[in-house]
């Protein structure tokens, strides 16, 4: 197990380094482009050249890459070109906002998905299974940007219950979080629910559940004490992988509702070539994705006794 953990962590670091190199090459491969985005479109050629030499960008890309890695690891993310401030001053706030949105969504989504998945898989082929299965395919077909306008039409325009934007201009407001969370949950829960259903349905056909039924144990007891334990192992990995998808959805949803999170920051930075912000956001996104993937793999190995005791 320890060896497996070390190998997975090593792989994670290697992937992060390669991703960082790719991001660095795209954004800082050509020093003239950096000088251009820092100094603006009207800078003269000799000014660009001077800036490149003064800031050490005339050196080899690989030396600059390792220097940059060192700076990032010590928390120095460079200066934002749009905001004229250190990236770290903006970045951590934005990441925190996204953390709140994604965290709330994640908890609600997982609870809804597991409950529905277990209810459907408990009685395969029953009307309750059919309804839940169709529902989870249907909601997974509505992308975030579509449900954002549909739900805004319903809850903001027709019913007038919720605010249409979530920019949190007058301090943090839970009400403004409701629509984005709904949008993300609606699109995301279906996949987990379907995986849970499949896993639950499989467990329900195993001999040990039949034994429990034939022993005359109460149905509730069989589900809660015997079936769930094994049925929830497989969805665990799916749930951890879902965080990667959640981050994708966050970019679209934050844009749709004007929520000041890291996805909106990345989009703005990418459109206006704010290179140091792009790098910070890109690395953070991939780190979260790779980290949760690793946890998912290791957790699956740990939770599954057939693998753990081999």
């Amino acid at each position: 197990m320890l060896q497996l953990i070390m190998r997975r962590i090593g792989m994670m670091i290697l992937i992060m380094l390669v991703v960082a190199l790719l991001l660095f090459m795209i954004n800082e491969g050509d020093p003239r482009l950096i000088a251009r985005s820092v100094l603006g479109p009207y800078a003269q050629d000799d000014q660009l050249q001077l800036w490149i030499e003064q800031n050490g960008y005339d050196r080899s890309m690989f030396i600059r890459y390792f220097e940059w890695i060192g700076r990032v690891l010590t928390g120095d993310l460079g200066n934002s070109i749009i905001y004229k401030r250190p990236v770290s001053e903006i970045f951590w706030d934005r990441l925190g906002n996204t953390g709140i949105l994604a965290g709330v969504t994640f908890v609600i989504m997982v609870i809804v998905a597991l409950v529905l998945g277990v209810l459907a898989g408990m009685k395969e082929g029953s009307p309750q299974d059919r309804v839940i299965s169709v529902l989870s395919i249907a909601t997974t077909s509505v992308p975030e940007y579509a449900s954002a306008v549909i739900l805004a039409g319903i809850f903001v325009f027709w019913l007038g219950w919720l605010p249409g934007t979530s920019s949190m201009t007058s301090g943090f407001n839970v009400v403004e979080l409701i629509l984005p969370v709904m949008v993300l949950t609606l699109y995301g829960f279906g996949y987990i629910a379907r995986m849970t259903r499949a896993s639950m349905a499989e467990v329900m056909t195993t001999p040990y559940i039949r034994t429990a039924v034939l022993k005359g144990l109460p149905y509730k007891h069989i589900i809660m004490r015997h079936a769930l334990r094994n049925a929830l192992i497989a969805p665990f990995t799916v749930i951890m992988l879902q965080i990667n998808w959640l981050l994708s959805g966050v970019v679209v949803t934050e844009f749709a509702f004007g929520y000041k999170g890291f996805g909106a920051l990345l989009l703005e930075a990418a459109l206006r070539r704010d290179i140091f912000v792009i790098e910070a956001c890109g690395i953070a996104a991939v780190f979260v994705a790779v980290f949760t993937q690793t946890i998912g793999d290791l957790g699956y190995t740990y939770l599954n006794p057939r693998i753990r005791f081999k």
Binding site: S141, Y145, A152, F157, S248
Partner: protein, 297 residues
């Protein structure tokens, strides 16, 4: 060597096209899959006959802010209303569907060609080649997909060709993984050993012997991926990174009119939102039906 004991003709394996048609025929047995197939078919028909079926010119400013069902200046009816610039929404959805389906199909097929070639090579040759391909697939797959799209399109610029490139870049690793897994499994079968003994070339074996036998999971995955690509093209349009205006695409339509949703004209953005969702639902149901049918036999 002549074999006298067994003269029964060996059934010729179906070509990929024939077997695809056969699975479509089998689909009748799955109501879910049939529904999905009909939805997709409806959008294909709308896309192909867009010039005939669209009631108005999709880019012509006719009558701004006309509600669904109101009368057009030339006596026709705006079934879905018009947008803030007075363009007929139904016509824009029909033409937009053509554009979305065209790019989604082209992008997904291109991603499949790249993914299949890499997956076959990795799964058949194994060794270093496999390690390298798999590592880079892992690197690409570790990006949250929308982050990757934003980075690529913002760097290359928004155009149809760049969207296709981005889709190929982002989805071929996933396809490669599936093909690689199936290839490794099939490569151990006897008929592959037979082909190797006959002296067939590696690519002949991969493309003629292995690929047709890997089609089952690939057809299901293709339908799902068509759905994802449709979502992606819409999302890029929504974020302002999509196909260039003024020709309609669904994501762009939503983003141009979404500020009117709370201002009294929700239908402008909701109709294209429903169009995307319905088409994706079609692909998802079709994939589900095909999976069900393929598991049955």
């Amino acid at each position: 060597m002549t074999d006298t004991t067994n003269n029964a003709p060996i059934a010729k394996p179906d070509s990929m096209l024939v077997s695809a048609l056969k699975s479509i025929a089998l689909l009748r047995e799955s109501p879910v899959g049939t529904t999905g197939g009909l939805i997709v078919l409806m959008f294909v028909v709308l896309a192909v006959f867009a010039p005939v079926l669209a009631p108005f010119d999709p880019n012509a400013p006719l009558l701004p802010f006309a509600f669904p069902g109101s009368e057009a200046p030339d006596g026709g009816i705006f079934l879905f209303g018009t947008d803030h610039l007075g363009r007929d929404i139904l016509s824009r959805i029909i033409w937009g569907g053509q554009r979305v389906l065209f790019y989604a199909t082209l992008a997904t097929v291109s991603a499949y060609i790249v993914g299949i070639l890499m997956g076959l090579a990795a799964g058949y040759f194994r060794g270093y080649l496999d390690e390298i391909i798999s590592f880079f697939a892992n690197v690409i797959l570790s990006f949250p997909i929308m982050v990757l799209y934003v980075l690529i399109i913002a760097n290359l610029g928004a155009s149809g060709a760049n969207i296709i490139f981005a889709v190929v870049f982002a989805s071929s690793p996933g396809i490669m993984r599936i093909v690689r897994g199936v290839t490794m499994d099939i490569a151990t079968r006897d008929y592959i050993a037979a082909a190797q003994t006959r002296g067939e070339g590696a690519w002949y074996i991969m493309l003629v012997e292995i690929l047709p036998n890997a089609r089952g999971p690939l057809i299901v995955d293709f339908c799902l991926r068509m759905g994802y690509t449709t979502i992606t093209i819409g999302a890029l349009g929504f974020l302002g990174l999509g196909l260039p205006p003024p020709d309609p695409d669904w994501g762009g339509m939503i983003t141009q009119t979404r500020s009117f949703v709370t201002g009294g004209f929700p239908y402008m953005a909701i109709f294209p939102a429903c169009a995307v969702s319905l088409l994706v639902l079609g692909f998802n149901l079709l994939a589900d039906g095909l999976r069900e049918v393929s598991l049955r036999d």
